[in-house]
Every structure is written in C-alpha cells, then in structure tokens.
C-alpha cells in the first residue's frame, strides 16, 4: 500500500496531463464537428467533397499515425515546415481535435438524418427563419439523437489520450511505464488502469445524467 501511495504523485501528475488533453480536445471538437456535419450535407458539391475527403482521411488512418505525422512530419515540409513546428502537447491537441471532428461530424450527420423532415415544415408554416429553425428546433433534436453515440466517443477519447505516449508526453501511461521500468514491478500499470476506470465511471455518470436530462418526457 505504501508503495502505491508513493507512486501516486507521479501518476496523478500524468493524469492531469491526460485530462488536459481530453478537455481541450473535447471542448474544441464537439462544437467544430457541427459545421463539418453541415458541410457533409451541403447542396454545394465541392463543399461536400472537401468535407467527405477530410472525414475519410481522418477516420481511415490511425490516430497515432496522425499524431506522429503532425508532430514529426509537418516541420519537414519544405518552405513552410519551420512554421509548423509545434510543441508535443499542442501537436497532440491538433491531431486529436482534427480526428475527433471527423467522428463527431459523422455522428451529427446521422443525427440530422434522424430528425423528422416534418419538423422543417412545421417551422416553415409557423414563419420561423432558417436560422431559427436550425438552432431552436433541429440542432437540439439532433443533439438528443446523437447523445449516446457522442457519449461513446467521449469515453473513447479519454482512453485515446494514452496515445500521447507515442510522442513522449508525460501522461498517465508514460509515467506508469517509467515507474514499471524503474522498479521492475507491474503495479503502476495496474494503478493506471484503476485510475482510467474511476475517471470513466464519473464520465459515464455525467453522460447518463445528460441523457435523462434531455429525455423530454420519454422514459428511456
């Protein structure tokens, strides 16, 4: 027990770094997924193509590779490369945000498909503008439809922060590994596992609460 307590400061420090990445990635990618989702459904073809290509690239390649390319690869582009040199943590935020925007955009797109078309007609006959229709009626319903899928991604995102390991940022797994190597003892990784479980327990509770908060009278 004393051994576990002795490693906690280092592990918790790693946890804070993981949570920081998690928070930045979440706060940026959740709203930014929406304009991309709208682009995926745009009537203007080139916009649709760009959005589709973007989503295709970021969904079909491993996040770890994207992270490595953004950190190590971008600065090697001739000419503009030197301006693209980011520190490890910012490179990670960029990779995570770009990657998760692609996933959230697809989730939102499916949510928009799930909103009944007749809602648009109701808005039209009530004289609501396009903007009012979208923001007051369509998006809230889309958001509700998407919530379980978004929750799924949020939990995955927390675990994906361990990919920071690939660019040697001192997050939770990185620090746990350091302790394992130092002491030739696996306990630190077990403790890290428990920390992930505890964090995701709280996340799950919050997300479930959100779901029932937006149940609109339906028993789910």
């Amino acid at each position: 027990m004393d051994y576990i307590i002795s490693m906690l400061p280092m592990l918790l420090k790693g946890t804070v770094t993981s949570l920081k990445l998690f928070a930045f990635a979440l706060v940026l990618s959740i709203p930014l997924g929406l304009p991309v989702a709208l682009q995926l459904r745009s009537r203007f073809r080139p916009l649709r193509w760009i959005a589709n290509i973007y989503v295709y690239i970021f969904r079909s390649t491993p996040l770890m590779l994207q992270l490595v390319i953004i950190y190590f690869g971008l600065p090697r582009i001739p000419g503009i490369g030197p301006y693209l040199l980011l520190d490890r943590f910012h490179a990670a935020i960029l990779a995570f945000v770009l990657n998760y925007i692609a996933y959230f955009a697809e989730i939102y797109r499916s949510g928009l498909l799930g909103v009944n078309r007749s809602q648009f007609e109701a808005c039209q006959v009530l004289g609501l503008s396009h903007w009012q229709t979208q923001t007051r009626v369509i998006f809230p319903q889309m958001f509700r439809i998407c919530l379980p899928s978004v929750a799924n991604e949020v939990i995955t995102l927390l675990k994906d922060t361990s990919l920071l390991y690939a660019v040697s940022v001192a997050e939770l797994i990185h620090n746990a590994e350091a302790i394992v190597n130092r002491d030739a003892n696996m306990t630190a990784l077990m403790v890290a596992l428990v920390i992930y479980m505890i964090l995701n327990f709280f996340l799950t509770v919050i997300l479930k609460h959100l779901e029932s908060r937006f149940s609109w009278g339906k028993n789910l």
Binding site: E121, V125, L126, G127, R136, Q141
Partner: protein, 244 residues
C-alpha cells in the same frame, strides 16, 4: 374573397397531381376537401401555404398574389401571405424538445408578434380553449394523440391566423379520440374561423362544413354546399365515394 385559386397545376415528375383546379374561399367558410388517397387534396392544401410549389395557375390570398400564372411573388410577399394561414398536420408535428407551453410561445416570440408576457397570456387562453390547461409543462411525448393534435391547433392559433388549414387532422388518431379534435375544430368553426379541412370524416364534412370540394384524380369532380353534395351528388364518382 379570402382565397382565390385559378387553374392550379402541379406535377410530381410524370404524375400530374393537380389539373386545372379553381375555387374560391369566402371569409368564414368551412370547406371540407374530400377524395380518395392520391386525389391531390393534400397537395392542394399544401400549395396554399407554399409547402409545395405549383407549376402553373394562380393563388390569391386576400386580394394579393402568392403566385400568378405559375410565377411566384417575392420572398417577402410569400412570407407575409403565408403568415395569414395556420396549418395543422396529420402527424401533429409538435416540437418534441419543448414543453407544450414552449411549443406555443416560441413561434410567437421568434416571429416578433409580441412580448413574452403577451405570449404567455395568449398561450394560457388558447390552452384553456382546447381544454389542456393542465398540460402546460408536459412534453408532447407524454400526451395522447388527440391531446397533441389539440396542442398543435392551439399553436397554430397563437399566431392569430385568418385562415386555418387542416391536413387530415384526425387520420392518425384512434377512432375513439377523433371526437375531441373534431369538437375543437367545431368550436373554431362556430367562432367563424375560415377553415379548409382535408378529411375522411364525412360526418364532420356534412355537419360542420358549409361547402364541400370533392376531388378525383387531380380535378375537382364536384363542389357545392355540404347539403347539396351529400344529398344530391351529381357525379357518379362522388356518389360511389359517399356510399362507402
């Protein structure tokens, strides 16, 4: 005249849904639009409030053109004319993410009809009228179909329309609860609201409507007072339909 429709035409692809439809609606008219499925009656109603764009013909609302000879008025005029009408759908189309109260108040305030306080007063008045005062803070999903449809009627009335359009308002309801919606509509008719009602409820058409339009394959097969159409139908198609 509240509404004048002349030579209206509309096709979906090669399917000619409306062929040369003409009729007039006077203030206070309650017109039942009858006909078999696919006869074009819903499309006709939806054209009046610009949910469908017609291919030819004219629609004039209170003397102003919505569309003249197939050419639509400007955006602002369309908005102004369609705002004179309220519409009730078969599937209610309430906003599931809002309480009954919010369903009524939001369109009122968003379209600049008045203050929130004014909206609230009107909301309570209309919910009282349709007998749903106690459902103020409920979400639509917790109401029965009949209650939802009455909320939808109240929501349309919030905007103080001159004309109410009903597109098969009771077709999605159990026969036992169509009565509550029909009686709300009947109250509206006795308040002299101008109403166009696409319906399969022959009883309502006969007892509440003053005029009946019977449609068949995109044309008005027969039209006249409810009394005349029900007791002395001229066309064999109308006769056959009314016998059902």
């Amino acid at each position: 005249m509240m509404i004048q429709v002349t030579n209206l035409q509309k096709a979906f692809g090669s399917n000619q849904v409306l062929r040369d439809i003409s009729f007039e609606v006077a203030r206070g008219d309650v017109i039942a639009i009858l006909g078999a499925s696919g006869s074009g009656k819903s499309t006709l109603l939806r054209s009046l409030i610009h949910l469908e764009a017609v291919d030819g013909g004219s629609i004039t609302i209170e003397g102003q053109d919505l569309v003249r000879d197939g050419i639509y008025a400007g955006r602002e005029q369309i908005r102004r004319l369609t705002a004179k009408m309220g519409m009730v759908f078969q599937a209610y189309n309430l906003f599931p993410n809002m309480t009954v109260k919010k369903n009524l108040i939001l369109p009122f305030t968003l379209t600049g009809r008045g203050s929130h306080a004014k909206a609230q007063d009107r909301c309570l008045e209309l919910l009282g009228k349709v007998g749903l005062m106690d459902k103020l803070n409920d979400f639509p999903s917790s109401l029965s179909g009949g209650q939802q449809q009455r909320v939808a009627i109240a929501r349309a009335l919030m905007l103080n329309p001159d004309i109410m359009l009903f597109d098969e308002p009771t077709s999605a309801l159990d026969p036992q609860i169509t009565g509550e919606v029909l009686s709300t509509m009947k109250d509206l008719a006795s308040d002299h609201m101008t109403m166009l009602v696409v319906t399969h409820e022959l009883g309502f058409a006969r007892n509440v409507a003053n005029k009946v339009i019977f449609m068949h394959q995109g044309v008005i097969e027969e039209a006249g007072t409810a009394e005349a159409v029900f007791t002395r139908p001229q066309s064999p198609v109308t006769k056959a339909f009314l016998r059902l």
